[in-house]
């Protein structure tokens, strides 16, 4: 076994093998890479992984210490690591439900949407589990389903789920489209949308379809579900 003779006898044989594997240098690197990929970026800086692996070895495989090394590292707080991760389908569904303050009576339709976006829950065939990298989740069909999910959920068209966008955004019947958008960007994207995104959204909001009412109506009511769906479908919301 890895160049070492095991002859402890009985169960001790197995224990020695596990010991050998746990202390193998590849193990510290493998586990550190997985953690850094999960919490920092798809391709984590090798220097960071190296320091985490060192902690793993010196702390006898204490994951808490390894995570501390990661969290107190400059790489963790760097500009490059900020919103570097694309949300997995599950993360997208959950974060959309949370952002909308959705009241969920029947979770099954949400589970089905998670599958449609590409992550059928508990149905991953390989024992290695679902991927922690963006390229597994970002493809044409999946992106369209992400957008359709946010639109459908925000429009209250998912069975067993209800969101009250109006009270979430603190809307009055007279609130104008510009204010709706500002509040939606503030609430859903923490105000951190690229100027191009906001500009695009503003243009769309001028279209008569959003302002449900006829053009000559004195008060133009905004279709809040559509606005929320649009803002939640922004590229900024796809990252965590």
């Amino acid at each position: 076994m890895l160049g070492k003779k095991i002859h402890a006898g009985g169960m001790k044989d197995g224990e020695q093998v596990i010991e050998l594997l746990a202390r193998h240098p590849s193990t510290s690197k493998f586990i550190s890479t997985k953690l850094a990929r999960r919490f920092v970026s798809d391709n984590p800086p090798p220097a960071l992984v190296g320091r985490m692996a060192k902690t793993f070895e010196s702390s006898d495989g204490d994951i808490r210490s390894v995570l501390k090394t990661m969290i107190y590292s400059p790489e963790f707080w760097s500009r490059e690591a900020y919103r570097a991760k694309i949300k997995s389908p599950f993360e997208l569904v959950v974060s959309t439900v949370r952002a909308l303050g959705t009241d969920v009576d029947t979770p099954m339709p949400l589970v089905q949407w998670t599958g449609r976006i590409g992550e059928p829950l508990y149905q991953c065939q390989p024992p290695t589990g679902y991927s922690d990298k963006a390229d597994a989740w970002v493809n044409t069909g999946a992106l369209l389903n992400r957008l359709n999910f946010t639109l459908t959920l925000a429009g209250n068209r998912v069975r067993g789920s209800r969101s009250d966008v109006a009270s979430l955004l603190g809307m009055e019947p007279t609130t104008d489209a510009k204010t709706v958008l500002d509040r939606a960007v503030g609430v859903f994207l923490s105000g951190q949308a690229a100027p191009a995104t906001v500009e695009t959204l503003q243009k769309q909001l001028d279209s008569p379809q959003v302002l449900q009412a006829k053009l000559d109506d004195p008060v133009k009511q905004v279709d809040l579900g559509v606005v929320a769906g649009l803002v939640l479908g922004a590229p900024e919301f796809q990252r965590r």
């Binding site: 694309i86 599958g115 449609r116 976006i117 590409g118 059928p120 065939q125 390989p126 024992p127 963006a134 390229d135 970002v138 493809n139 044409t140 069909g141 999946a142 992106l143 369209l144 389903n145 957008l147 359709n148 639109l151 459908t152 429009g155 068209r157 690229a194 191009a196 995104t197 695009t200 959204l201 243009k203 769309q204 279209s207 379809q209 959003v210 279709d223 559509v226 769906g229 649009l230 479908g233 922004a234 590229p235 796809q238 990252r239």
Partner: protein, 455 residues
Amino acid sequence: MSHECCEGVRGLKFSRRYFLKQGGVALVGMSAMPAFLQRAVAATPMPNRKQLVVLFQRGAADGLNVVVPFGESNYYRMRPTIAIPAPKRGGRGSGVVPANPELRGSGFVLANPELNGDAAIDLDGFFGLHPSLAPLEPLFHKNQLAIVHAAGSPDPTRSHFDAQDFMESGTPGVKATEDGWLDRALETLPEENVSPFRAVAMGPNLPRMLRGSAGAIALPDVRQFKVMTQSPAIGQMVEGGFEAMYAQTVDQALHGTGTETFEAIDLLRKADPTKYQPENGALYPTSRLGQSLQQIGQLLKANIGVEVLFVDCGGWDNHVNEGGVQGQLSNLLKDLGQGLAAFHQDMGDRMQDIVFVTMSEFGRTAKENGNRGTDHGHANCMFVMGGGVRGGQVYGKWPGLADHQLNEGRDLALTTDFRSVLGEVLSKHIGVADLKPVFPGFDNNLHKFPGLIKT
């Protein structure tokens, strides 16, 4: 179908992927083009290429009950309760019996319906189809269907996961391969004017074999490939909003995928594949597989530049109560046989340009187990269907089922590497000039391939 929208710009040659791959710089170039021209580029008619459909039977299909070696007495010895009886006029246990050609196709199967369905359907006097695959018999005898027996991956693993992984990566035994063989095959082909629908997988996820840089679309349902809103007017506005946001984002990954997505939505809306009804009296099963096959047919008819299509088909892991002439396997085969036959019928003359290949991660044990099922085995059979196929033959060297002939003493031994079947289809049908990058480390010698594609 003609693309009226782009009559004026037919001569333009833009590689869409060139723009996408160049990222921001190319975006500037693309933005400088008027919008209608950008659309036109996306919709420029694709060169009429050949098409390949790959079906994966997940779970390891029992090849010995799919294409039955009724001429081998060992088969009946090892499968006391689940064996498929020999055809009424075949020769059970008598070795290779040359069947009377006059009986073929018009023989007992069609003329004597009372005998139909309870025995294997004779193919060549030695092999027979499971009776539930009756719809495929005429295709075999019209030389549209070839079968390769004792084929598969040479890796000895009995793990579904590892075996599927190897058959999709195209590198048996090598775990580190990141992309799939079908993706690499596409990468070897010219990219000029390729469609966003160049490679399509029917389902919510891209299969391993299509993963990689060539790009492919996972399409659970053709009818739902659009922005879903309550009214078309809102849909248009919302789609425009999403499209603009993703076109302008500095997020590289999302920008590329976003551009492809809206291009694809636009192309599909114009082509409207759902308007194509099954032709020539084709009747697809109402199952998920049947519906996927029907939609594959629609995508092909819509002329949107589809080159490779993938469809999954699960449920083959029959450890318990597999059944014989009837039962679990029989039901799966009914669905598969009707589906393939309907597809062939629906496609009509288009079959000249299409090759349809089936594969499964490994076969099953030659002996049935104590639960009237079979366990994980080794070699299996593959179907290859199409106008360009030299059908009507069961290819491959038959290794025999005597105890000493079995792989590890339990399963059908392997005599044809699946890569030689796929390699032949890729090189002779799709036009892959160099198979080395597709199947690295494999002896891609065309002369050693089965010879099942016409040249």
